[in-house]
């Protein structure tokens, strides 16, 4: 394991994108940074600009308006960058499955590395997902 991947797994800067979610997943993501869960212990930080991101946390069902913007944001991120789908909507479109303006699920648009299920996922589930992501990066990629 090179020092580069080691450093990458120890400090994941997270950029949070909501493309049409009901905000519950977003609240649960913010919960991870509160005193009870505090994932800054593992070097995870919420950052403001995509240019600094190592992971994109995507919540919500992809509607027609957000798909092109989503692609644009993914192209703007500097490249060892993983995509994490948070919540049932981002995974499988959930209750918007046959809706008129939600056409394709997230993993047909972007290469998703990690799925965190739940409606909304608990902060514990998000932390467990992050540890799985770290293991996956360490194995090779």
């Amino acid at each position: 394991m090179s020092i580069k991947t080691k450093a990458l797994t120890k400090s994941i800067w997270v950029f949070h994108i909501s493309c049409g979610s009901c905000n519950n997943c977003d609240i649960e993501i913010l919960d991870c940074f509160t005193p009870r869960h505090d994932i800054e212990r593992f070097g995870v930080q919420l950052i403001g600009s995509v240019r600094h991101a190592d992971a994109l946390l995507i919540t919500g069902a992809m509607n027609r308006k957000s798909v092109p913007r989503m692609k644009k944001i993914y192209e703007q991120a500097p490249k060892p960058c993983v995509v994490v789908a948070v919540g049932q909507c981002a995974l499988s479109q959930h209750m918007f499955r046959y809706s008129y303006n939600v056409r394709e699920p997230l993993d047909e648009i972007l290469p998703v590395d990690l799925y965190i299920p739940g409606c909304p996922p608990k902060p514990e589930a998000i932390i467990a997902g992050i540890t799985k992501l770290v293991k996956k990066i360490n194995k090779g990629k």
């Binding site: 020092i3 580069k4 450093a7 990458l8 120890k10 400090s11 509160t34 005193p35 505090d38 800054e40 212990r41 070097g43 950052i47 403001g48 600009s49 240019r51 600094h52 190592d54 703007q76 500097p78 490249k79 060892p80």
Partner: protein, 303 residues
């Protein structure tokens, strides 16, 4: 050879970066403890820098060279300031004439480089950040220079850091006089704004303008900006110690003084919300400048 060694290793680059990153960790840890969290491990900031050096650099379609070179401009001139300051603190006799003015100019370079880089990235949010940074410089430089003048008048009109330290070594620290204490308060607020700590982190407001001046920077160039912040966190408290508490500069007293000043800055950072740019200007040109002017007058009278 010796000068190069000084610049690259001992009071200069390597030491400044290591101490600055450790102080940055101290800041994060104290903030975490104040919010009842656990906080990151001590090597977190080193890992962040290592990671950023391994990432891709994206250069926007803009004036490339100013975008690439401006982080290095700010970083190298700040390291030069740290070297001059460190040498003076170790060997006060080696200080050269008017080095306090040299340090004053070099300390504004990081903010200038940040403005150049931000405005050459062509991002509207970055230009908002750059304009805020510019207004903030106009705000805090005035009280900072006034408090320096108070110190200079107190130390028998010498503009040489070495003789300021020697004066304090024989006549007691500046901070224990009326004019020195007032000047310290003014200079401390200026330091808070220079470091970009919370009431004055207007130019990098993450929540409103998404990182502001740093928004377009990624990878190694962002790492250089982070290192600039770290070296600034090393230089500014040391400069304040030099100017106001220069009586004993042995290791046993220097380290508690340094930690104390950083701790005070972190506490102010964590207990104050971000203010608007007009409030910041009003604050610096109002109360802080008045305090600094009073301290200059007191110093001229001899208190």
């Amino acid at each position: 050879m010796k000068i190069l060694l000084n610049f690259l290793v001992f009071p200069g680059l390597l030491t400044a970066v290591c101490v600055g990153l450790l102080a940055g960790w101290f800041d994060r840890k104290i903030s975490a403890r104040l919010q009842w969290r656990v906080g990151p491990p001590w090597y977190q900031n080193f890992i962040d820098i290592a990671k950023l050096f391994g990432k891709e650099t994206i250069i926007p379609r803009s004036s490339r060279w100013t975008f690439i070179l401006s982080p290095y401009l700010g970083f190298l001139s700040l390291v030069l300031a740290a070297t001059v300051l460190g040498k003076v603190m170790l060997w006060p006799s080696e200080s050269f004439y008017a080095d306090i003015i040299v340090i004053l100019y070099l300390l504004t370079m990081p903010a200038v480089s940040m403005m150049i880089g931000a405005s050459s990235s062509r991002n509207p949010l970055a230009s908002v950040g750059a304009s805020r940074e510019m207004k903030l410089i106009l705000g805090y430089e005035l009280p900072f220079i006034l408090s320096l003048i108070a110190v200079i008048i107190r130390c028998q009109d010498s503009i040489q850091l070495g003789s300021i330290i020697n004066y304090q070594a024989s006549f007691g620290s500046n901070i224990f006089s009326f004019s020195g204490a007032l000047a310290f308060i003014a200079a401390f607020f200026a330091m808070q704004a220079k470091l970009g700590f919370a009431p004055f982190d207007i130019s990098e407001a993450e929540q409103e303008i998404m990182g502001g001046t740093l928004i377009e920077y990624s990878g190694p160039l962002l790492a250089v900006f982070k290192l600039t912040k770290a070296v600034l966190l090393y230089t500014m408290p040391l400069l304040l110690i030099c100017l106001f508490m220069g009586k004993d500069l042995g290791w046993m007293l220097l380290i508690p003084k340094y930690i104390g000043i950083v701790l005070l800055a972190v506490l102010i950072k964590n207990t104050n919300p971000r203010i608007r740019i007009d409030q910041a200007l009003r604050f610096f040109w109002g109360p802080v400048t008045i305090i600094a002017v009073i301290s200059v007058i007191l110093a001229a009278v001899g208190l």
